[in-house]
Symmetry: C2
DNA sequence: CCAATAAATGAACGCGAGTCAATAAATGAC
DNA sequence: GTCATTTATTGACTCGCGTTCATTTATTGG
């Protein structure tokens, strides 16, 4: 009975096409101009068809967000395959995060979208929501792992449990990366210019400060 | 000619009433349920009237955001009136920021709204936008001042210029505060619980790490 | 009391998300 | 090949909401 399997594959392929369309709009026009009508037009299907593949607009955007989290996690996993010390891994994770935002601003914007969703108690109306959340947790887990390795190999102080340091690293780097994102994508955001700072300077300063806080005394 | 002045006062009073209505909705129902219709109903005016006082919905929300930035800045200014050393001031600023988000989540959400605006190149269609931006800059300036004082009084290392440290402090604390906000306002955000961490622990850890990075060696 | 000006109103418009009854296509049994 | 049945596709429709505007109402200055 290969027919149902083929059907499922077909369906996945179509879903993927639709996501491609949505993604291209996201890149070219931004989230504000991503309408179901427009996606349907680009994907060359009817609006109604979209709703056979996505439960609603949120679900579609989270479909992109799912790709986004996958890509970021894969990048993180690569880092952890290295056998450098934990502190270096942490630094590398930060760098990857920064480059990710630079290379895929549309993916990052979809992740911001995910963050903003949780407010209105949006729950069971998107299958992708759960997948995205899972991926987020996985990403966090990778950070924990890097830090734990650092604690184990003695490159990172053990003042705090690895999870707590990871949360700190996650939240603060998120803040720094957000600045970087704004700098690159918001025309009127001139803070870096105003204080005469380069993006990489910001990142290096961040890593320096963070390093002072978490690096073990050698 | 006191009549035009009275008129202007009246107009300001009415605008304020409308903002009050919008704010109460924001508190009780959140940004998602803040519609012009609803605001009109609560403020007991017609929908059309709102547009005599606000250029559009964004403008109205930014009106709230203006109040939000005012309040935060006032809190910051209080801190700077103290004559403790700069490092203590910085810590106090962070604490104020955290408490602000705890006490006025609706104001914080309006500031997130401001952040999300800059994307779609929304420019001259809101008078409040400029005011909010001004206030933001003022808030940042206060941070710079605290740090500069710290550098001057020797409590903060002078590895970096005050502006750069301020940007670092601003962005990283923003990240930490965001976690705190999510923890309090997003029902499904369980990260802190999952790693068994309290909010104040997060803050203290943040300040500890930051302190290691910026505090002068004594 | 009467223009003239300003403020307030709500019906009407446009846009976009989501629905659904009708239509078309694919499948499997005979 | 034919036909009943299940599955996929369509676009007209509803509905909510931001925004506009012609009309009505209130206020001012003469």
């Amino acid at each position: 009975m290969g027919i149902t399997e083929r059907r499922i594959r077909e369906k996945e392929r179509k879903r993927s096409t639709m996501l491609d369309a949505a993604e291209s709009i996201l890149i070219e026009k931004g989230l504000d101009h991503l309408s179901m009508e427009y996606v349907a037009e680009i994907a060359e299907v009817s609006k109604g068809s979209l709703y056979q593949y996505f439960q609603n607009k949120n679900d579609l955007v989270l479909g992109i967000c799912y790709r986004a989290t996958q890509l970021l996690n894969n990048s993180f996993k690569e880092v952890l395959e290295s056998n450098r010390n934990g502190l270096m891994l942490v630094r590398e994770l930060g760098e990857r995060y920064l480059n990710y935002v630079k290379d895929h601003p549309q993916y990052y914007s979809s992740m911001k979208f995910l963050d903003n969703l949780h407010s209105s108690g949006v729950g069971g109306e998107s299958d992708y929501l759960e997948l995205c959340t899972k991926n987020r947790q996985e990403g966090f887990r990778l950070m924990v792992e890097a830090i734990q390795r650092g604690i184990d190999d003695g490159s990172i102080k053990n003042d705090f449990p690895a999870e707590q340091l990871a949360l700190l690293f996650w939240s603060t780097s998120h803040g720094v990366v957000t600045i970087s994102y704004m700098h690159q994508n918001y025309e009127h955001f001139k803070l870096l210019e105003r204080i005469g700072m380069q993006e990489n300077e910001l990142f290096n300063a961040y890593m320096h400060i963070l390093g002072c806080g978490i690096a073990a005394d050698t």
